[in-house]
């Protein structure tokens, strides 16, 4: 690997992060809303009471959060903060910090969406490859229509249907939540099992919907690949069918899928908002949704920045490891 190549890609990564981070700073402020006032008013409205001194409280906390400073000053403070991964306090949940909130939510999202994305990728890619493989069993052709149909259904709708069927009518799985009421988080198999059971329905709704997409993509690539001369050559050499299938067809067809997977893994940090809402999953998607509703600029900045870094980083890693996956690609400039 050439160090210059990695350095160049890393530079691009930093540039992307800075640009996106800058947009991330200015965009929430375009709404013109006062986040402190919004927080206080929403809380008052929720309680139905008319609390005295909201204007004074607003001024007090604007000062505390640095929102009374000129915009350029806030921007510089923001850049200094993100360089240390310090996103300030959550305006709506003070004195909780943005980092604490993200740390609470991230494992749930990564656990649920990460697993679901990897499973649907694996399953969809394998099924897609088989669907285009001439020697695959005939019955496999029947799999495609339901996969297409499921792919057209939004996550949340399928989630509602699955909840009704598998959690309510046939009470096989929990209706909502990350783990059972009264259970306590512990490093034990019973707790693992509890979390797993609670993750099944949301994961299933994501997997059933996503698998079709992965399968479609893989099938398309496989159709092209199976027509290549090197496949014909491999078959002419008398290689076994599984070898031709896995090492010649799948190996070459899967490369665009890997690119898509890397991007999908980067995007999971933004969560699947509606799935999280429906299943009461305390992930990052609902956190972002709530932050937008509450105009909590700092939380929005923290989450979006994390997503940007994750996406930029996965793209960077992909750039770096691609030559390993596909030896035809070189680090050298053309």
């Amino acid at each position: 690997m050439q160090a210059a190549y990695v350095a160049r890609r890393f530079g691009v990564f930093l540039l992307i992060v800075w640009l996106a981070g800058t947009l991330n700073f200015f965009l929430p402020r375009l709404s013109g809303q006062d986040p402190v006032l919004t927080k206080l008013l929403q809380q008052a409205a929720l309680g139905g009471y008319v609390q005295g001194g909201i204007e004074e409280m607003t001024r007090e906390y604007q000062q505390r959060f640095g929102l009374d400073k000129p915009l350029w000053h806030q921007y510089v403070t923001y850049l200094e903060g993100v360089a240390r991964l310090d996103f300030n306090y959550s305006i709506a949940n003070y004195p909780r910090t943005v980092r604490e909130l993200i740390a609470d939510a991230l494992p749930w999202t990564v656990g649920l969406l990460g697993t679901a994305t990897l499973l649907s990728f694996g399953l969809g890619t394998f099924l897609g490859a088989l669907l285009a493989w001439p020697r695959a069993p005939r019955w496999m052709a029947w799999l495609m229509p339901p996969l297409w149909a499921l792919h057209a259904i939004p996550f949340f709708l399928l989630g509602l249907i699955l909840t009704y069927l598998l959690a309510f009518r046939l009470p096989l799985l929990p209706i909502f939540g990350g783990y059972s009421a009264g259970a306590t988080a512990a490093f034990s198999w019973s707790f693992f099992w509890d979390v797993f059971q609670h993750a099944l329905l949301p994961a299933l709704s994501i997997i059933l919907v996503s698998t079709g997409g992965w399968a479609l993509g893989m099938r398309g690539m496989m159709v092209t690949t199976t027509g290549e001369d090197y496949i014909l050559f491999a078959e002419a050499k008398g290689l076994k069918a599984p070898t031709v299938f896995l090492r010649y067809c799948v190996r070459n067809a899967v490369l665009p899928q890997v690119t898509a997977l890397a991007l999908a893994l980067g995007q999971i940090l933004s969560g699947a908002v509606l799935v999280e809402v429906i299943f009461g999953y305390p992930g990052i998607g609902t956190l972002l949704y709530q932050a937008i509703r509450e105009s909590d600029h700092f939380v929005i900045q923290g989450i979006v920045f994390t997503v940007v870094v994750a996406l930029g980083f996965t793209t960077f890693v992909l750039d770096v490891i691609y030559p390993w996956l596909d030896p035809r690609i070189s680090y050298r400039r053309a």
Binding site: G47, Y49, G53, Y94, G111, G114, S188, G280
Partner: protein
């Protein structure tokens, strides 16, 4: 011995292995490991669902200092911190609690509170008058930095513990309602905090949560046993001072679990399958389905409409009195006459509501004040549906109706753009818009995400919103329309409708100075105020707000009902502790 060549860079397998290891290490969805909770049987556990406006998680799971602005007493602190007194508007009854008695001076500038003796905080330290004085003085000092600070700062000169069971509160101004302000009712009340824990802490950022130290420390019967984004668990302590004094029984509920709200459908399914004992507010349309599938589910009104109890928050169509056209009382009355409240209730709430005549609920202690203006309400019927009267009022003002739309003398259409939020906006907004359109008033309805900002700043023509005002005497509601006060210097006015009337303002100040229990004097002031308010109609009365809370009687009975209305039953209100000590195993 073979010598494998050392690879110049990691191979594909190594890269994949590293990726898998990184992924697995990320799958650790817990914040803290707590496996030391004792087992409690389901039939001794009460499980409810709630999370304010935040679906799916407790964002504030480690915030147990109710004064920090990110904390919300509705999310659990209401259960653990005890007040000086509770007040039930349904029973019109004050329950003296940490306070044994109180006495105002004749000019209401001094309040002497006798606190109960022999109470201990949960860490064993004695509770005393010092804790009360410390709470009040700190609120005064912190002012706008904490909840209730401004209210305390406006009134309190100083609070002094003259002996372990006596607090003397000196006021800057006459403050006849200060004890009532401190008592728990609905969402208003002062939480008394332990001085030995809070002293030296920054109240704005102190969380008061440390399971190892058994924090939060309170005087109540509930200990926070576990808290995470997923749930808050409160375990009953083995003893409680109030039970020892026979003020209340030791709750039969041994464990109370609060789950974050995940949606109405999920809550309904969990109620039907007995996974929940109490839901959060539900839409009227959901109740018949729930009752059919689980007959053990009840509401305040049993299985009958309106499936709940009347909240303290009657809902109005606020019109911005500072904007042209709506600054004319005849236009406001015309709009009111165009509204068919019964149809609004039938369509918006499937019949499960009632019309609101005045901006306060007809609770028992308020009934004398309704009686006092009965004749005025007959003359100025705020619920009257009379399109012809409305037409006549507009015509008299020079409005003309052409092409089905009213236009003013300059040819501008009479137009009301309405904003709304929460449940009331979507329920009533579209119906209201259609009613007004049919009578020639151009109208539209939106649910803007920045509703609160716009409403507070007066950036609206019309807005659907409620009133958190009076529950036992009329001052608090009267104050909602006051534009300036002399009696309370620096007071912050709500005045959402932006209506101004100097005479009315004086009457509100007069009501402020009156003793809250001087019904005769207050009735007189109230009537004079309504003689101004009703002809002016600053906002247009619509419907009562109902808390439609489903309760499951599979495991627990003796929820508050219309047959036994001991308190309003909302678990997010400050009086929820009263419900818990009343519940009995089914």
């Amino acid at each position: 011995m073979s010598h494998d060549p050392v690879p110049a860079h990691p191979g594909r397998r190594e890269v994949i292995k590293a990726g898998v290891a990184a992924g697995v290490s990320a799958l650790m969805p817990w914040q803290s490991a707590r496996a030391d909770l004792r087992e409690v049987a389901r039939n001794r556990t009460m499980i409810l669902v709630w999370s304010g406006s935040r679906e799916g998680r407790w964002v504030d799971w480690d915030l147990w200092n109710p004064y920090s602005i990110g904390s919300n007493h509705q999310n659990g602190p209401n259960l653990i911190y005890e007040p000086l007194a509770y007040y039930s508007a349904f029973g019109d009854k004050t329950y003296m609690w940490l306070a044994e008695s109180y006495q105002f001076s004749a000019d209401f500038k001094r309040l002497t509170i006798k606190t109960q003796s022999g109470i201990s905080w949960s860490d064993g330290q004695p509770f005393s008058a010092e804790d009360v004085a410390y709470t009040l003085n700190t609120l005064r000092d912190l002012g706008p930095k904490v909840r209730w600070g401004v209210d305390a700062q406006q009134a309190v000169e100083k609070a002094t513990a003259t002996d372990p069971n006596t607090v003397v509160v000196d006021f800057k101004i006459s403050a006849p309602r200060f004890f009532f302000f401190m008592a728990y009712k609905y969402d208003i009340g002062v939480y008394i905090v332990p001085k030995h824990i809070f002293e030296g802490q920054d109240w704005t950022s102190f969380k008061h949560f440390d399971p190892a130290k058994k924090w939060p420390v309170t005087t109540g019967p509930w200990q926070v046993a576990d808290a995470s984004p997923q749930q808050k668990i409160f375990d009953r302590r083995s003893s409680w001072w109030a039970a020892d004094r026979k003020l209340a029984p030791l709750p039969a509920v041994e464990r109370n679990i609060w789950l974050p709200f995940a949606g109405e459908q999920q809550a309904a399914q969990a109620l039907i399958t007995n996974q929940l004992d109490a839901g959060t507010g539900m839409q009227p349309a959901s109740f018949p389905t729930v009752f059919r599938q689980n007959p053990k589910v009840i509401t305040y009104t049993g299985g009958k409409s309106p499936y709940g109890y009347m909240d303290w928050w009657p809902i109005s169509l606020y019109v911005n009195n500072e904007r042209a056209l709506f600054d004319d009382k005849d236009v406001r009355w015309a709009l009111s006459y165009y509204i068919d409240r019964q149809q609004l209730i039938d369509v918006g709430y499937l019949g499960a509501s009632t019309a609101s005549k005045l901006p306060m609920p007809p609770y028992p202690p308020l009934m004398p004040y309704f009686e006092a203006v009965k004749d005025l309400l007959a003359k100025y019927d705020t619920n009257e549906f009379a399109p012809k009267k409305a037409d006549a009022l507009l015509a008299a003002k020079g409005f003309k109706k052409g092409g089905g739309t009213w236009t003013d003398v300059e040819g501008k259409p009479l137009k009301v753009d309405i904003i709304g939020f929460g449940a009331a906006g979507p329920a009533m907004g579209p119906v209201l818009v259609e009613m007004l359109k049919r009578r020639g008033v151009e109208s539209s309805m939106t649910l803007p995400p920045d509703f609160d900002n716009r409403f507070q700043k007066g950036q609206f023509d019309g807005a659907i919103y409620g009133h958190g005002g009076s529950i036992n005497e009329p001052y608090a509601t009267m104050r909602l329309y006051q534009s300036a006060s002399i009696a309370v210097p620096g007071a912050h006015q709500a005045n959402f409708s932006r209506w101004k009337n100097a005479e009315y303002d004086k009457l509100v100040d007069e009501a402020y100075r009156a003793a809250p229990d001087d019904t005769k004097k207050l009735t007189d002031i109230w009537r004079r105020a309504m003689e101004i308010w009703l002809p002016e109609l600053p906002d247009i009365q619509l419907v009562q707000n109902y808390h439609r809370i489903p309760w499951n009687t599979t495991y627990w009975k003796h929820w508050p009902t219309e047959q036994d209305p001991y308190v309003n039953g909302a678990h997010w209100h400050l009086t929820f502790a009263m419900v818990l000590w009343n519940l009995q195993p089914a």
